[in-house]
């Protein structure tokens, strides 16, 4: 078990990181050449009006005052209102609406990656230096080399345009309306008991999840392989075999648990690339998650939305890595020291 002290220590370490993250976001937005006051007032507004907006927003206060105010806002999850994307709507509201969409996509992609990546990696390691191994490795290497914004369009062309089997974009047919409860479309359609809508959602999400999953699968199978290859060489594995256990049982019983440890760290570190992948996937498949929101907000200089979105992404990433650290210490209690 994880000791309370370890959990507490890790939680405490979150604060400096989040503080640093908030500072970086603040710095980026203040280094940007655009002027938020002009964005809000509009290009053709009079100078007086622009000045009025600027002082209303507190943008003519000294930088340190703005910084302190910003930290306070971040601590209370108050990112202000959107200037452009959803004018006047609080950023926290927009994020709450759109975050589940991205999370659902990312989780499904991660799940697909684990489902296929781990067995492939294990197979590759157990059959090291055979044709199975070579094929899996080359496949995995190709998988991480193929950009999502290439595989996505190609699959859309094949399955939607030419074969007409799957829809091209979105995450549910436009004829369905499902009351958002959790924001996760697969869950919401089920909660509403609408089977047809659920099927529509599954069909819509299939390609985006496959595209996102291919990359994760490739990545995880590589990690699983190299971790497993290392574990197979360990003395305790030879001992187990010498004691007369079949090699399959040895691999499953002794190998997996040990091989998983580095793989889990990698899942945490790669969660960042999963989120990056989700942004690209959302763009290709026109899914309105926080990825497309960020791109939209940057294009339209909607600073509060950019701030909020980037912060949420960083916090999500940091929390996942915290979770990974804790899982890690459950699997290998030595880590705590």
């Amino acid at each position: 078990m994880v000791s309370k002290r370890f959990v507490f220590k890790r939680l405490l370490m979150l604060f400096p990181v989040l503080f640093g993250v908030a500072t970086v976001v603040f710095a980026i937005l203040h280094l940007s050449p655009g002027d938020p006051a002009v964005v809000i007032a509009g290009e053709r507004a009079s100078q007086e009006f622009v000045n009025q907006v600027r002082s209303d927003l507190g943008l003519d206060d000294p930088l340190w005052q703005q910084y302190v105010r910003f930290l306070g806002e971040v601590a209370t999850f108050d990112f202000g209102q959107s200037y452009q994307v959803n004018r006047g709507v609080p950023v926290s509201q927009i994020l709450a609406d759109r975050l589940p969409i991205t999370i659902e996509l990312a989780l499904l992609g991660q799940f697909a990656g684990l489902l296929f990546g781990l067995p492939l990696g294990i197979l590759s390691a157990v059959k090291q230096d055979t044709w199975t191994d070579h094929l899996t490795r080359i496949g995995a290497l190709s998988g991480i080399s193929v950009p999502i914004y290439w595989s996505g369009p190609l699959l859309i062309l094949l399955f939607a345009q030419f074969l007409g089997l799957l829809p091209t974009s979105g995450r549910i047919g436009s004829e369905y309306f499902v009351e958002p409860v959790t924001g996760l479309i697969l869950v919401d359609t089920l909660l509403a008991g609408n089977v047809a809508a659920f099927q529509s959602a599954v069909v819509h999400l299939l390609l985006p999840v496959v595209v996102l999953g291919i990359y994760q699968m490739a990545l995880l199978s590589r990690m699983m392989r190299s971790s497993m290859v290392e574990v197979i060489r360990q003395d305790y594995m030879r001992t187990a075999r010498a004691k007369g256990q079949g090699s399959k049982i040895t691999v499953m019983k002794h190998g997996l648990r040990n091989a998983f440890i580095p793989v889990i760290t990698v899942i945490g570190i790669q969660f960042g690339s999963l989120l990056g992948g989700a942004v690209l996937t959302e763009t290709v498949f026109e899914i309105n998650g926080i990825g497309t929101l960020l791109v939209d907000a940057i294009n339209r200089s909607d600073y509060p939305v950019v701030q909020g979105t980037v912060l949420v992404f960083a916090v999500l990433y940091t929390l996942v890595n915290l979770g990974v650290d804790l899982t890690y210490s459950v699997l290998d209690p030595r880590i705590e020291q």
Partner: protein, 305 residues
């Protein structure tokens, strides 16, 4: 390994030197790494060829009247034409130049920054180390593509694709700093460092002449693996609309056009060819990087009993 067999008259010097370096001989005996090198050399040749054969303005201008618009690949237009009636084939070739040029600058710049910071942090320790490495930690707590997206906005729009280079340089720097700091700390523990200091070497001399060369291996591997990533990320930023200007023949921009306009008309060739070359290039760097890592890590060399 038998040492007697290779004593031909060819070039004993090189053979000897290769054998002396387990890293190189290991790398060159790895078929996948060789494939990677071949791909990379091919892409660089394409890039240089395209750069000095085609006129960029011609490639960017619409070609209505000269070429058919949205025509499928044919003998005349190998990769077809796009919605602006531009021949896609030379554009895809020219895209290699963009990838190689901007990718190289990104990797070189982030390597330089990261290596400098890492070595300085390792050598001076204490406060310097803490300030540098904690800053790196913070940068590493953002998902990389998203940090790059946010960072692109701090550069003026006129910089075009150089904005992506600037943003990604800052995103990759912490990775190099970490790797180098770790390697440098190990080197600094060695006795020859003390000996060099005792002989009166100055800090810069010690760091550049003695510590740096001993960290080169991990730096090279990290750079190679990052090369593929840089090319794919620059294209991603281009694809998302941050970087290249609309007509520029970068792979990311072509893919973006392919999704925006080519997808619903079924014009698969808009996306297919630029993406194919992009994926192949990235694969080349990943193959080489993987081979390098295997060659460096002695544990990976042995085969299972």
């Amino acid at each position: 390994m038998s040492t007697e067999t290779q004593t031909g008259t060819v070039d004993r010097g090189i053979v000897e030197r290769l054998r002396a370096s387990p890293f190189l001989s290991q790398l060159l005996s790895n078929r996948l790494a060789i494939t990677g090198i071949v791909i990379i050399v091919g892409v660089v040749l394409i890039a240089v060829y395209a750069r000095f054969t085609y006129d960029l303005n011609d490639l960017m201008a619409t070609q209505f009247g000269t070429n058919p618009s949205e025509s499928a690949p044919s003998a005349e237009y190998l990769f077809g034409t796009d919605g602006q009636a531009r021949d896609i084939f030379p554009r895809v070739l020219y895209g290699a130049w963009y990838a190689v040029l901007y990718g190289t600058v990104t990797v070189v710049a982030s390597t330089f920054l990261g290596v400098s910071l890492g070595i300085v942090a390792a050598y001076y320790g204490d406060l310097t180390d803490n300030v540098i490495m904690r800053t790196m930690d913070v940068l590493l707590s953002f998902p990389s593509l998203l940090l790059a997206l946010a960072l692109v906005t701090i550069f003026p729009e006129e910089l075009g694709l150089w904005r992506a280079v600037g943003a990604l340089t800052l995103v990759y720097t912490p990775r190099f700093a970490r790797v180098v700091r770790g390697a440098a700390l190990k080197v600094l523990e060695d006795e020859y460092t003390d000996a060099t200091k005792a002989l009166g070497a100055t800090d810069p001399r010690l760091l550049i002449r003695h510590v740096l060369p001993n960290c080169l291996a991990p730096i090279t591997v990290q750079s190679t693996l990052n090369y593929g990533l840089a090319i794919i990320d620059i294209a991603a930023l281009s694809f998302l609309g941050f970087g290249a200007s609309p007509g520029e023949p970068t792979w990311g921009m072509m893919l973006s056009n392919g999704v925006e306009f080519g997808l619903f008309s079924g014009a698969w060739w808009w996306s297919f060819f630029p993406g194919l070359l992009l994926a192949l290039t990235v694969l080349g760097f990943n193959l080489l990087g993987d081979g390098m890592r295997d060659a460096l890590d002695p544990r990976m060399r042995e085969t299972v009993d």
